[in-house]
Symmetry: D2
């Protein structure tokens, strides 16, 4: 339903990969940047004892973390050069306990705007044989701003 | 506005402190459990390089993590013995970048129910001289269930 | 991604149409029940001067009203006989002003549970020539309960 | 916690009352504008058969409608002259069925910004003797823009 999937910055993937490298929380959680396409970004996370809540499931906050970054970078993939993104707000519904060995957040842009974008993200849990189930889903609003250091 | 601030389980604080100790993500982030009162739980987090997003602010996912745990435990503080809590959904609005040295999530129960509770949480950022500002605020729904291992 | 699209109550459509007839707000707004399928319900709304906010767009509250009813009935379409539904919470993102002559909310079940279902709803705006655009999108939690009057 | 409760436009109340008068949905629902103060706006609604869902409670969409307008006008009360407001997104949690004869939405600004404000709104239900209970609560993001017709 999104028509604005033409990247305004041809270097969007390099910009996103460099920025992800500076998101120290991603390294702390063990999250990895996957596919980076115009309007769509994936982040994977292997379950580990460091990420659990009290029952041994991956904590909701870890799911939000990867879905938020995937959504923000999906928005950034369609923004002009010299922009940065910041979460305004997010909402996540948790549909199943995150008991899976591997999780993947897929962030997508629903509407790309000049100063605000609306994003959706699904968090999938991967089971044996590669089957996946929908563990959680997010809607969020992302603010798009000129970078403080942008030479413009 | 909440009338149900009488704990149904006199041992609620011990239950919550023991459960928090099993939330490995809290240790991974460096979060500490603070006040535990009927219907109100606080969790503190010192900013650290391990928690940042790309600009050096504390990542939204870390704010959600402590606010979600504080809200869940606030709900658990009013639940009968032998119950556990699980996030159904949460929504957080981010009002300022989390540039502060110390953050505190204060989770409160707005309505305590038998199977679902509605919670609110504020994340405060502490500045020099002890002043604080509202960095983010959350509304969430918490499911309350008999523990799998509850002997009842 | 939803597997539970088999209706538990073969009379689900009649139940939903009867219940919609008792939702007086739908008549007050001029909303009409459209397609009713297992896990998917549509509600249409013609723009009218009675529904506007201050600029002449359809008010956000009218969009939420039809999306909430479509989501609740989508959840009810998969529930056993003798159940009723109630919104626990909802979140809507508004992507474009609702300047269209006709709007349609499409409610879908993302996860159907025994006591709680997670739903998504899109509100489409219809333009000339039948093209549609995504005006708003909702995520919600629906509670499923035995009807007070259910003879079971 | 909000410091920005000084109105930037001394005529804020007249602006809001004039704008409310153009929100036709408010008249359709029977909603009335109450207190208008810097950063806080109240809207009341008498329960009526025209507003119900299938069980005779006031429909969630009507609660959202008054809370959304109260929040938007609370944001507008702190905006400069010549601005208008538009909902970006909202989230409401429903805590009790709206079985009350009278409802009141109280919208408050949590953070007032130049282009975006964060608002909270409570919907209270009034019982006999003037007691009230919290029926629902909202968090929302409001966009602030120069009016199309603003002579600036």
């Amino acid at each position: 339903m999104t028509k604005s999937t033409q990247p305004a910055n041809p270097d969007f993937e390099a910009v996103i990969r460099e920025s992800f490298g500076r998101q120290n929380l991603m390294a702390t959680l063990g999250a990895r940047l996957g596919q980076v396409a115009p309007g769509l970004v994936e982040i994977s996370l292997d379950a580990s004892p460091a990420l659990t809540q009290q029952n041994g499931f991956v904590h909701a906050g870890a799911l939000v973390s990867i879905a938020d970054s995937a959504s923000g970078y999906a928005a950034l993939s369609l923004a002009p050069a010299g922009c940065e993104v910041l979460a305004v707000e997010l909402k996540m519904s948790f549909m199943r306990p995150a008991i899976h060995a591997r999780l993947k957040a897929i962030g997508r842009v629903l509407r790309s705007g000049r100063t605000l974008s609306t994003c959706a993200a699904d968090v999938l849990g991967f089971e044996r044989e590669g089957d996946s189930v929908l563990v959680a889903t997010m809607l969020s609003t992302v603010s798009i701003r000129r970078s403080a250091g942008a030479g413009v």
